[in-house]
């Protein structure tokens, strides 16, 4: 065979070899990525300079006004720490009627409070706040005869919301406020976990939340009366929405009122700063697994100083669609006093954890429930738009989530900007330790606060319930 005849043969053979070599036999049917979904989670102040508009979705409150038992209303608190005024729109959504839009201006370093009832007159109302700045913090105060509840508004709507703790025992009132701020109707399915196991009430399947309106679901009336353990998941078939709970405890060891958003996602870590064990105090963690697989949860108590090393993390199994409750009173070796808690999952991002703590308040008790801080939301800087107008102790509970000691300072945001609050500067914060902050200095009262430290922290608030009620109402501050 001549060289001339061999050359093309060799060439073709080489090409064939290359082709075969190049074939990895895989198909690339992987979806391209348009956006990495902003992980729905703990409400946070984005502070994103590139944002054009920022929207806040508040959970909704009763807006019935004066009723037999007192005032049922809500307020929206907007805190602008920047030196530039902020413009925006507040839209109130109700169960019926058209949405009401109202312009809003937040002055530089200012605090704007909007009475929901000044916008609408309805049994319940939710608000959407749209601003041209991402630096403003927006939260909602739900005014109720059983106590005012403060809760951050959500950064985004979601197609999934979970509530780890609900309570209908002894006639307690547990309502879900489902808000659809969009122009398309949302269709949701509600599933409930009780002590008896998971249930999917047929009347709450394919439940429609019309466009730009809200729906309120009375969970007890939906077939879940006298439940001490009640976790709820609301999942959209189509659309996105915001879900909050309006819980009025009337017995069963719990009293008081809370109003808070659900969790828009599961997480593998849940941080809590404000735990307490003591006489007359009931502290329970509802660990809810809304997934289809069994979750393995690990419970680690923090903030005990030298003792913590003696309490190894406890591990427990959480069946799918069920709730497991951890009562700190039953934890042997846990000393009385303050502590923090980290509940994490060993099986992935599959848990929702809520802490319910009932403390004595004069001759009765006050119950408050707080969702923990999800993984990735601990921060060195926290904002407290709503603090206290009166001097109170233990108003802020700060957990150092890192294993190294650090310090933090409390600033008051006034017309001159951020000013350190006397005696609240460079506060030591030991590794994984908890510090409670008393707000007694006039500079700290009635003003938005900022906590800035050099370690990742979790900050909870213990605010007064109202001027006539004893006890505190817990809520998270805003990580920045």
């Amino acid at each position: 065979m001549s060289l001339r005849r061999v050359t093309p043969v060799v060439l073709v053979a080489m090409v064939t070899g290359t082709i075969v070599y190049a074939d990895d036999g895989t198909r690339s049917d992987v979806a391209p990525i348009f956006s990495v979904s902003g992980s729905a989670g703990t409400p946070v102040i984005p502070g994103d300079d590139s944002s054009i508009t920022t929207s806040w979705f508040c959970g909704g409150t009763s807006a019935a006004g004066d009723s037999g038992g007192g005032l049922y209303s809500g307020e929206i608190v907007l805190s602008n720490p920047t030196e530039v005024g902020v413009r925006g729109t507040v839209t109130a959504l109700t169960t019926d009627g058209e949405p009401i839009e109202s312009p809003v201006v937040v002055d530089p370093r200012g605090l704007t409070i909007i009475d929901v009832r000044s916008l609408v007159n309805s049994a319940y109302a939710s608000t959407v706040v749209e601003l041209d700045s991402s630096s403003v913090a927006v939260e909602q105060r739900a005014i109720h005869p059983a106590g005012t509840a403060v809760a951050p508004c959500a950064n985004a709507a979601s197609d999934t919301w979970h509530f780890a703790d609900g309570f209908t025992f002894d006639g307690s009132d547990f309502r879900l406020i489902l808000t659809n701020p969009y122009l398309s109707a949302a269709v949701v399915n509600v599933s409930v976990a009780t002590e008896g196991g998971p249930r999917t009430p047929s009347n709450l399947q394919g439940y429609v939340i019309p466009a730009r309106s809200i729906r309120v679901v009375n969970v007890a009336e939906a077939g879940f009366r006298d439940e001490k353990v009640l976790a709820v998941s609301v999942v959209a078939e189509s659309g996105r929405f915001v879900a909050a709970k309006d819980q009025h405890y009337l017995g069963g060891g719990r009293l008081g009122h809370i109003n808070a958003l659900g969790s828009p996602a599961t997480s593998s870590q849940w941080w809590f700063a404000d735990g307490e064990k003591g006489s007359g105090i009931s502290e329970r963690y509802s660990i809810y697994n809304p997934t289809d697989e069994v979750a393995q949860a690990s419970v680690l108590i923090l903030g005990l100083g030298q003792v913590e090393s003696m309490l190894p993390p406890a591990s427990l199994s959480v069946p799918a669609h069920e709730v497991v409750t951890v009562d700190t009173a039953t934890i042997q070796g846990l000393p009385a006093g303050a502590h923090a808690m980290l509940i994490s999952s060993e099986t992935g991002s599959d848990l929702v954890v809520e802490r319910v703590i009932t403390r004595p308040a004069a001759d009765y008790v006050a119950t408050t429930a707080v969702l923990g801080v999800m993984e990735g939301y601990t921060s060195q800087r926290w904002r407290v738009p709503t603090s206290t107008s009166i001097a109170i102790e233990d108003a802020l509970i700060v957990l150092n989530t890192s294993g190294e000691s650090g310090t933090f300072t409390v600033y008051s945001v006034g017309p001159g900007g951020e000013e350190p609050v006397p005696n609240l500067t460079e506060i030591d914060l030991g590794p994984n330790s908890v510090v409670s902050v008393d707000l007694v200095d006039p500079l700290a009262l009635g003003r938005p606060l900022v906590l800035a430290g050099d370690r990742a922290m979790v900050v909870e608030r213990r605010l007064e319930r109202n001027t006539s009620l004893r006890g505190r109402s817990g809520s998270l501050a805003f990580p920045e």
Partner: protein, 1075 residues
Amino acid sequence: MENELEPPLSDDDREDAVASAPAAPGVVAALVVHAPSEALGECLDSLKAQVYPNLQTLVLVTGSAPEDLALVNGLVEARSMAVHVRHVGSNPGFGATANSVARLVQGDGGLFLFLHDDVALEPDAVRLMVEELYRSNAGLVGPKFVEWDDVRRLQMVGFDADRFGELDSAVEEHEIDQEQHDAVRDVFVLPSACLLVRADLFREMGGFEESIEFHGEDLDFCWRAHLMGARVVVAPAARVRHRGGLRDRRDDLSHVAMDARHRLSTVASLTGAARSLVVIPTLIVVTLVEAIVSLVTGHVRRASTEVRALVAVPRDIVSILRRRRRVALLRRIPDREIADLQVRGSVRWRRVVRGRRRSSGFAVGRGASDNSGSREPIAVVAWFVLWAALLVGSRDLIGGGVASIADMLPWSDSPRDLAHSYMSGWWDKDLGATTAQPTGNILLALGGALTLGHPALAQTMVIIGLVAAGWLGAWRLCAVASVPRARLIGTIAYAAVPLPYAAVAAGRLQALIAYAVLPWALHLMRLFGGLGLPRGAEESSRAVGDVVEHPDTATRVRVVSSLALLLSVTAAFAPSVMLIVLVCAILWILATLMAGGSSRAAGLGIASVSVSMVAAVVVNLPWMTRYLASDGWQAFIGSRTGSDLGVWQVLRFGIGPSALGGLIILLFVPALVAPFVSRGWRFVWAVRAAVLIAGSTLLAVLGQRDSFPVDLPEPGVLLAPAAVGVALGVSMVWVVFGADVRGARFGLRQPVALVSLACIPVGLVPVLAVAGDGRWQQPEATFSGQMTELLATDERGGFRVLIIGDERLVPGGSHELGVGLRYSVVESGRLGADDLWTPTPDDVDRYLEPLIEAVASGATDRVGRLMAPLGVRYVVIPVVDRVVSTSRDPLPVPDGLVDSFGAQLDFRRKFSPASMIVFENQQAIPSVSILTAAGSEAASSGGNEALAVVDMSGAKPVSSLARPWKSVSESVPSGTLHLGVPLDERWSAVLDGRAIDLGASFGSVMSATVDEPGVLELSHHRPFSRILWVLAQSMLWVILVLGWRQPKNLRRRRSSRTPAVVVDDSPIIAMETRP
């Protein structure tokens, strides 16, 4: 090679022969000379050598070139011949020139011998013919013609003719002369190349028909001789060599067309009145059938010629009637007797049955002609089967139209609007701009106009026509196989490749264009390079190398013009195909170098491609500058179809649903086997085929694996050369089997070649299976069709639709957004073929893309308000296109896309088919509208932050989107006029005859203050440079077309305009009988 007749006699012998001859009538040899060639010398020599004692020679030199006359005189003087030379001056044609003999020669007692200037007579040829004339009492006598270069081979021995004037020769092509035709016999026609006629008869007949310049004068002349009762006899003992090749010498003439036209007019003129009633209608039917046969066998030009000749008959009616009147005076024999002299039935049909080429008085030049085998019965049948398969396979497309999928988008309903848009310079694609427009738009307009405003019909014809064009191109290219059946089998193999059907099914227009264009491009490249077709002994030659016959310059100009025109149209619609043509040229030269082919021919081939590409770029300017933009390369290579083809799918051309099974890869076997078993020129072609396949497949695989340094065109385009390689390879194996394998010493070649041949029929099976579907598995319901139905009915003023999603699903031209993501902007939700292209993304980059990115990053949930000034009313996310993504196996929607747009507070999810997700922007502002008060304020304040907090809804539409070629004139209330196109100073607004300022608005578009109600008129001023360029561009296209088609006609006109030189008509020769 023997190329001489009997050796010329010595002067003494000749004188002896003359002296011993009986009384000889005078013979005047009338030699008509045009553009003297070297054959003329031999012709004169042969005349000088004649033993006939009473022969005078009259040379009639046509043409106006004085050097021709000088050359002839020189030749005559060099031979010391007593020859009369007359310069006719012009070139009125052979018949008219020859007729001057009647004036220049006195006396009726002799004979005229009419000669072409490329015949050489044996020394006794004249004598033998004269003797036979007297012996047979004939009026006309002709000799036996043999080939110029090989006197053993017969050329012509007179012709029979049927009643339609079609000539039939008893001589087969290249038939060896074994005296089998040496009997004297009556024939119907004698060639005018050498024709002896009685002078008195000639004068009485009025000579040749002067309206016949070339081709057919002999039929007319002989037919009239028959009418007068003269015998027309061939005397085979008289032998002449004939070079022929008028087609090569007079390439300015449309030989086939002239032949057909003159034949029909002769039949119409000479057939008796009664018989005409039957003959003429039959002739029409036969001609139409012939045209259809030519058409289906790929000879479009021939079919056109047939039809044109038929159409010309009514046009020549005056001339025909005049001829009939003259003939009526001559007619002495009843027409039925003439009919008896003619062949019964149809010569054409007999020719088809016998598988022979058309007889003609002209030898077929070797050159690059590729008509071999076109009329073989098996070829005709095969072509009929192919056409039937195409029509049956496309029956639903023909009946219901082509589905609008991927790049096969419906043609505009209004070609006029397309043309207006092109001329205006304003292109409303994307956000609209005064910018370069694709040349394809004007070509689409022309296509739509050609179907009289039936764009869907035009589109269907083009889509199906592209498949057929590919077949015809393969037919032309496979002519290199020289064996008709090999050519045919190569064409069938090309038709069996599933690439075009998969391309139709998947809407891959570029792949379909590549399939259609590539064989033509390679064919033209071959012609330009001078790669000829092996003939005769060359067919079985085992010497490695190409058969080269470089064409003349005029042919090269025509070929390169054809290629340039082909690439120009291709570049207008599928620029990436141009790239593949270049790649093929490179592979071609590589294969040539490896296989020992003609590197010069290959070099010329690649040069022709290069020149043609440059021409294609120039005639597509300024649109071609679009590909210099930042995203130019992506726009150039076209939309991607996704990296999901493995080697197996590449090998089976699996680019779409109609990819069939894997049997098709059996066709690679013969193509890859061919280099191993072939010899001679076949080896070179076999290597070319193999290298085309290997290179093409390699590129397709690398392109799919993203293993190439740059993005490559879609696999369908890359695989087109492989399809051509398969066709060539299959052809070659067929030839090789006959030339190199069969009858050779037994070895590995035989079984290998046999196996590869056996693969061919198996590989052809799958295509038949898919033809049954009727639409090549194209889906009936399509994404773009449904989108049009859903959105295009919105009559709330002009609006735009943003289509965004997986790059494999976004139809038409689009802009890249990120890895695997693309978007496009479509006006009014109506996708059209003009959406194949996207302009330079300047405006969308500046105004729209940041908003899309804001949605992706979550920077706003009021993007509806931000997009409102741009008129974006709908956002459509394609989910199922029923080709790449089906309801059973949908592609995943890009992560976060639905969520991100679902999170927008201005968007309402619209109820839509499962093929798409549609969001409606409730804030959209109609493209031309009067803004609300809030909108007016926002328009002037600018800035996204300000815009995002303003409710933009409620603007009142004024009209649909403004058209630059239609002045929008409408009553408007006072307020702020919004014009949703980027700021462009060529737009102007006039209110009640008063110009109002159109200024920037919303930081992106335009607005004007209408201070009081009135009649508003919006108009766009066309830039003058646009007019100039359109004119220049039109001229460039015309030049290309002229280069392809017209030089022949131009030369003809030029020659016809040449004023005839006035010559002296007085007699110069007196004929007498020598005792």
